[in-house]
Symmetry: C2
Subunit: 421 residues, 2 copies
């Protein structure tokens, strides 16, 4: 066993092993990566009982720690969930290998043939909370894209993550790939996260998945580049030209289908002209569905709506609660989104093509939607297979991050002895 007291040394050792594994993985054949992922899925299924038992330890720890029922539900693994994780690994295995793909190619008048090809990034650090399935998904997506990964899961899920990680490592071994390609930080010590954020020699990019505590830590301490994953402060704007039926079903679905995901709507903006018609109908339907509606003065005039406080704007409830306010027009809606949004996903409901086009052009969020539920903000629903998260930054990766978004590129230039004049 490592001496986990010396976190800096532990992490540096993991980092240098990841770097070495990344070099091998970058040139590994697609077939070997596929084989490793399928073998890991086999191992997971065979180890179902052990994984569920490990998870029981985490659940007990979680209950003692006083985790909310919602968090305990995310943490929990049963036989079906383990099978689903294995299925996800097989799905990633079946995807096309992104590495080496030609992104573009052209010839220059100088006689050079230039080709832009996909390459792995190198070593990825993933810092996440207590969903054990992220261990498998993030590990698999990094492997698929030819990157080594250092996983640092939530402390509550340590036993579950270890059991899943062991299957991934066995899959790597079965396929003759370096076991250090997927490493799991073996300690609950928070200092490991600080180390990861500063390991510029060993980690090329950090993917943080978590709440405000982690986001704050990343903002203060990160020296390694970060694919920002902020909260999903998702807005839906009901325009004056919204179709009443579309508004009703889209908003209800966006808020209530699942309230705990980042694509769930958190704030409703209603054009003043339709407050008494479409707006009121939507608000009543939300109330009937058991949603707490926190409205501004205009919306709060509707029976059953409670008054919103200033801190209800720009807030990710992740619960059966929604903010609601009236705006004078699309500019008012976009100004609200610009001020309170998190550049994740925002939506307009309108039948006016010009208004829709303005919204889609001018709202600068990773995903901008027209007449569709924001619950579609998901890599699977985008056709990307699994996702490691939804990036809210503007650099490199934006929106759902799948295997392809975890790659870089380089230029191959071929000549026949060409010299520059």
């Amino acid at each position: 066993m490592k001496d986990t007291d010396d976190i800096a040394a532990l992490m540096a050792d993991m980092g240098s092993r990841a770097r070495a594994a990344a070099k091998q993985l970058a040139i590994a054949p697609a077939e070997a990566k596929t084989r490793a992922l399928n073998a890991a899925a086999d191992r997971l299924e065979a180890a179902e009982a052990e994984i569920v038992a490990a998870n029981a330890q985490d659940m007990e720890f979680g209950r003692e720690k006083g985790l909310s029922p919602a968090m305990l539900d995310r943490l929990m693994l049963d036989g079906d969930r383990v099978k689903a994780i294995a299925g996800s690994l097989r799905a990633i295995a079946a995807q096309e290998d992104p590495v080496g793909a030609t992104l573009d190619s052209w010839d220059m008048p100088s006689g050079l043939a230039i080709e832009r090809v996909r390459t792995p990034i190198g070593v990825i650090g993933v810092i996440y909370e207590s969903r054990p399935n992220v261990t498998a998904d993030a590990g698999a997506l990094c492997l698929k894209s030819g990157n080594a990964v250092i996983l640092r899961g939530g402390s509550e899920s340590l036993h579950s993550s270890r059991a899943i990680h062991a299957c991934l490592v066995q899959g790597l071994a079965d396929a003759g790939l370096p076991e250090d390609a997927v490493q799991l930080v073996p300690t609950r010590d928070r200092a490991a996260v600080s180390e990861m954020l500063a390991m510029t020699d060993y980690i090329d990019v950090i993917v943080p998945r978590g709440g405000k505590g982690l986001v704050g830590l990343v903002q203060r301490e990160a020296r390694v580049p970060v694919f920002a994953h902020l909260e999903g402060i998702v807005h839906i704007y009901i325009d004056k030209d919204a179709d009443p039926e579309a508004a009703l079903k889209v908003v209800l679905n966006a808020k209530t289908r699942r309230t705990g995901i980042c694509g769930a709507a958190e704030c409703l903006l209603i054009h003043r002209d339709v407050l008494k018609t479409v707006g009121q109908g939507v608000v009543r339907a939300l109330l009937d569905a058991g949603v707490e509606v926190r409205g501004d003065a205009d919306v709060a005039a509707i029976d059953g709506v409670v008054a919103a406080g200033e801190d209800d704007w720009g807030r990710e409830f992740l619960d059966k609660i929604i903010g609601a306010r009236v705006v004078d027009d699309i500019d008012g809606a976009m100004a609200h989104i610009s001020r309170y949004g998190s550049d994740h996903t925002d939506c307009i409901i309108t039948d006016d093509a010009e208004t829709a086009a303005r919204f889609l052009n001018e709202v600068d969020s990773a995903i901008v939607m027209h007449n569709a539920s924001t619950q579609f903000a998901d890599g699977g629903e985008f056709g990307m297979g699994a996702e490691i998260g939804i990036a809210t930054g503007r650099l490199h990766a934006r929106g759902p991050v799948g295997a392809e978004q975890l790659t870089s590129f380089k230029y191959k230039v071929r000549g026949t002895g060409n010299t520059r004049g």
Copy 2:
């Protein structure tokens, strides 16, 4: 006039003005940006005498400061150079506008139509040394890509940069675009650079162009994401199957055409089997061309070669000097490049297709070349028009950075009232 003593306040003011300008610029029509660039070119040509006079002040300051002849040459502007800068602006104006272009689009079984479109990044900070033309090129590329920019040029070129910047601002005004879209830091105080590196609220990415001092400062202090631009420690490997004539002309061109650019070769790696034949011929030709060859023990056996010190490996000479050493095979060459290279540009000379493929696949530099001079490592030679530099990092931008590489993207998702099951 600003109180330039309070650098933090000055920079925050510039930052918030840049942010406001970026919002306008992001939705500005392509035609307005084109008009601004052409108007700036007109203004530059009309102001030729003033610009040359401003440059004379910088040249005097530079001579007093003891700048090298090479640096003074980079700093110097005459009528022809001003005309060339104007020409570069017109060339960027004539390029296709990258913003709003559809990068990909597809339909999902759910009925959603998904489109990936190019967007500006936001606000770009460019920190560079004393080439006044970078003021125009960087300003123009950022404008073309819909980004606001804060330019911080080398202190030696302040008067020249100011004169050029004034023309850019006039161009913006002529086209009805916000003048704050292109701002120049008005002070020589180095504290302005430190501020830029920490302005995460106002700057989305920093493009640093400079020597080791700047690179070190960026590595220590940057909180804003950086498009790394390290030195070009460019290697050429002469394989045992190299064509002698191609080796000779490519190496000579790569080293001697211009020694001061980042694509100039700095280190020659020679397969042991051809040291006495092709290798010796190339080394003698370099010596004949007046290049100082610093060789390992094997190469130093050739008459006229001096012994290399350990610090000659991984060194960017930017001069008529080259390191040269013998390697046992392609693995030895790749190991040397991996240890001493800067992930910029590296080249193999061989007629063996399999060896070439291995080198192009396995060397992880932004540009990997086969049988062509490394002096082609240039945005213009890649067909990108002007470049802001050659990125050596792996994230977002890699290799030559033109207008297209200064953009991000977002997803537009269109439905017809779709809800997720």
